[in-house]
């Protein structure tokens, strides 16, 4: 094995210039595959968070807007209102609203479940998303939108919220961990749509924030704003903050719930607001995913084709260049199989350099902000794509010498030095 590494290294050094060029090209392919997988992920990122909610038997409710201090009978405001009435419900995903004041400025509070926070991250302008922020006891982590109240990332403020079932105000230490990029999609209620036609994508609208004040002709301050703050529902529950449904509740039922019982539940739920089956939503989402993938298909095919052609070209040139060396190795007692192993190890060294190079390029591009307005990220699937490119390169670097050597005699190979 050490001999292969040694001769592989020597082969790499012998054709250093060519191998470095191949490494550059390979790193371009690696980066390209990361980008392509990222674009694919970006088109599917609105489906993942609601994947478990859009089931065959689930329902979506748009509860009527209820003042949080009044909870009339038959109205749905909190999870317990549902769980108390319908023990068959085994999962609730909702978009909640809460009143919040940070450092003297009112913000529209939007709260998501921990699962939603873990599975969906909006584009941030600064800081980190809630799932990545360090939690500290007694401190509420929040992410804010653009605002003119100087509520910024890294600072701690005094936050005021309304206590649940009490109506009184209470304060909590708030840490702003991130700031959402203006215009980024966030989990929100789907608006102005025919709800039989909505898909998961409609629950993630692009949110344009404005925040401005002016003095009117009476000398009074007038505010035009839709600034918001996002917090975790579980964190708000911990401090006992009031948060209520805001027209978006997904319910999942126990598998054993009979159709009759489901109909009964739906009828009861209708007293609280509009009720829709999630099955059509699921179908619409699949249709949307299909169109998104179809949209990406030419790009994916193009990239794939390009990766294959380029890898073959690189391996062919490399094999052709090293052919004479193989002839010598063969004359000195090596078998073709061993020569191919040497070629594979030489390619492996090129691949290692290509990986380092692509990581370096990505880190540099990131630090210069070149990737800030793209969907590029590095995760499991991107890593899989990189490995696929590397494996393809390794396979072709093994196959190519076999194809080129064919039935040629070593003597002919050594002699052919035109």
């Amino acid at each position: 094995m050490l001999a292969y590494i040694k001769y592989g290294y020597l082969e790499f050094i012998k054709y250093l210039k060519l191998n470095l060029i191949i490494a550059i090209e390979l790193s371009a392919l690696i980066i390209m595959s990361i980008f392509t997988v990222s674009t694919l992920n970006s088109q599917l990122r609105f489906y993942e968070p609601l994947k478990d909610d859009l089931t065959e038997t689930g329902v979506f409710i748009r509860p009527e807007m209820i003042s949080h201090r009044v909870t009339p009978e038959n109205k749905l405001v909190y999870d317990e209102d549902i769980l108390k009435k319908f023990p068959e419900v085994n999962k609730i995903t909702s978009f909640n609203q809460f009143q919040f004041n940070i450092g003297g400025a009112d913000f529209e509070g939007k709260s998501y479940s921990k699962k939603m926070i873990d599975s969906f991250e909006p584009y941030l302008e600064d800081g980190v998303w809630l799932s990545k922020a360090k939690k500290e006891k007694g401190v509420l982590n929040v992410v804010v939108s653009y605002n003119i109240k100087n509520v910024d990332v890294g600072n701690e403020y005094e936050g005021t919220y309304i206590v649940k079932n009490n109506g009184k105000s209470k304060t909590v230490k708030v840490r702003v961990v991130g700031k959402v990029r203006n215009g980024s999609a966030i989990f929100d209620r789907a608006q102005g749509k025919d709800f039989t036609k909505v898909s998961a994508y409609d629950f993630f609208p692009s949110y344009a924030v404005y925040d401005t004040t002016t003095i009117d002709y009476n000398g009074e301050e007038v505010e035009f704003t839709n600034r918001f703050v996002i917090a975790c529902q579980e964190d708000l529950d911990e401090i006992g903050a009031e948060q209520h449904y805001y027209q978006t509740v997904f319910l999942n039922f126990d598998k054993n719930t009979t159709d009759e019982r489901l109909s009964e539940i739906k009828e009861t739920l209708k007293l609280s607001g509009d009720v829709y089956d999630t099955k059509p939503m699921k179908e619409n989402t699949y249709q949307m995913i299909g169109s998104k993938i179809a949209f990406l298909l030419p790009i994916i095919i193009g990239v794939l084709l390009f990766v294959i052609v380029t890898t073959i070209c690189m391996s062919a040139i490399n094999a052709k260049k090293q052919l004479r060396s193989y002839g010598i190795y063969y004359t000195c007692g090596s078998r073709w199989r061993q020569c191919i192993m040497i070629s594979a190890f030489s390619s492996l060294i090129t691949e290692v350099i290509a990986c380092i190079l692509s990581a370096l390029v990505l880190v540099l591009a990131q630090s210069f902000g070149l990737l800030s307005e793209t969907v590029i990220e590095f995760g499991l699937w991107q890593a899989v794509a990189c490995v696929a490119v590397l494996v393809l390169n390794l396979i072709t670097s093994v196959i190519m010498p076999i194809i080129i050597i064919g039935k040629t005699q070593p003597r002919e190979i050594i002699k052919s030095n035109e």
Binding site: S42, G183, G302, F306, T310, C313, I376
Partner: protein, 411 residues
């Protein structure tokens, strides 16, 4: 030419695999170049036309959607507090210029409808038809290259001419009117007179020369923002039409501007559709992919051609020894690559047009009419220029070597 063809023949026979790979690389590069241009255009067309910026021209059912203009009405039928606190045009003349700094060339037109006097706004709308019989001043403009300019739409006139960019620049006291209606209802607020065959409209003490005519039934007297009378009242409507969907930040700045000029004279800033940041980022990534593909394709071709040059080094050395000048050899090689690349471009473009384009159009509907002969010609020129420059550098490096060194070089 004979030598070039012989060279190509030798290239194909002696390095068949490399020759095939060279052709395949050329084909893939041309195809990717054409497709990348299509995707890039798709994005811009989509951004221009699609109000939502997400689903394209087709809805979930696959039905073609109506194209929508990005038209924005800040207020209609009067400012909310028109009577409580009347606003004169002079107070918001700067709004036109400030809108230009926010939206720039995205502006199609800005239209402010003002009333010459503080009159009962309800009088404008007759109960049955909604037809207005009080002439109003329409202050209209577009925006180009950092200045107020002729708008892109609604510039049709029934007679005479529309404003010119010069009229906007010098704040010319000229106007366009709905002639018949204004003559029929010659109103106390506006005076239509004729002097030596030229018509003039006088309103708010300012005399405008009539240069064109609207629809005869229109009651508007259209003027440029710089020439509009400062003491007319902002009262009827404000209309802004954009050619492209604004970004979230542009919308934010717009609300700041509205707030600055109108404070609480309007109840709220109506929501304006903004460009979907996800779509924007998605296309930015695709543009990066195209750049990397172009880069990798260039390296690929360079590596392949370098191999060809290396394998020809002895021929090259002999050529030099028998009197071939560097320039002549360079020209021969350049012509050879140009010939191969040109033929491959034509073949690739034909295959793209016949086999690949119909498939791509299904996914990117906006590019349907994109690939004209002119586009192919421009692409060809760009492609050839880049190919020739890259290969020229490589060839020069090799040709410049001394024949002895070329002979001595190892594979």
């Amino acid at each position: 030419m004979r030598y070039i063809l012989k060279n190509i023949k030798l290239f194909a026979l002696k390095n068949t695999l490399v020759f095939i790979l060279f052709l395949v690389s050329l084909f893939v590069s041309v195809t990717v170049l054409l497709a990348a241009y299509g995707i890039y255009t798709e994005y811009h067309e989509k951004a221009d036309r699609d109000i939502q910026g997400t689903e394209g021209l087709y809805d979930l059912e696959g039905n073609k959607r109506e194209e929508s203009d990005i038209e924005y009405l800040l207020f209609q039928q009067g400012l909310d507090k028109y009577y409580e606190r009347p606003m004169k045009f002079e107070e918001c003349r700067g709004f036109f210029y400030d809108l230009g700094t926010i939206f720039g060339d995205k502006i199609d037109y800005i239209d402010f409808s003002c009333l010459p006097e503080l009159i009962d706004i309800d009088e404008l709308y007759r109960k049955s038809t909604g037809q207005t019989y009080v002439p109003y001043i329409s202050v209209t403009s577009g925006y180009k290259d950092g200045e107020l300019a002729v708008p892109d739409s609604f510039t049709t006139v029934y007679g005479g001419r529309y404003f010119t960019n010069e009229d906007y620049r010098i704040d010319a006291k000229v106007c366009i009117i709905g002639f018949e209606e204004l003559q029929k209802h010659n109103h106390e607020y506006m005076d239509l007179t004729e002097e030596n065959g030229t018509y003039y409209v006088t309103t708010n003490g300012v005399k405008y020369e009539v240069i064109g005519y609207h629809n005869p039934e229109a009651m508007a007297v259209t003027v440029t923002p710089g020439a509009a009378p400062g003491d007319c009242y902002v009262g009827e409507s404000f209309d802004l039409k954009l050619k492209e969907v604004p970004t979230a930040d542009e919308y934010r700045k717009f609300t700041e501007l509205v707030s600055y000029y109108f404070a609480d004279l309007i109840s709220d800033v109506t929501k304006m559709p903004t460009a979907n940041i996800d779509t924007q980022y998605f296309y930015n990534t695709n543009i990066w992919i195209s750049v990397i593909i172009a880069l990798a394709a260039a390296i690929n071709l360079a590596v392949l051609y370098q191999y060809v040059l290396v394998s020809r080094r002895k021929t090259l050395a002999i050529f030099r020894l028998v009197g071939g000048t560097k320039n002549r050899i360079r020209r021969l090689y350049i012509l050879e690559t140009t010939l191969i690349s040109s033929v491959m471009f034509v073949i690739s473009a034909i295959i793209f047009n016949v086999a690949i384009k119909p498939f791509i159009i299904k996914v990117y509907p906006y590019i349907e009419n994109l690939y004209t002969l002119k586009v192919y010609a421009i692409m060809f020129l760009i492609y050839m220029a880049v190919t020739v420059v890259i290969l020229n550098i490589m060839i020069m490096r090799y040709v410049s070597k001394a024949p002895v060194n070329l002979m001595k070089e190892e594979n």
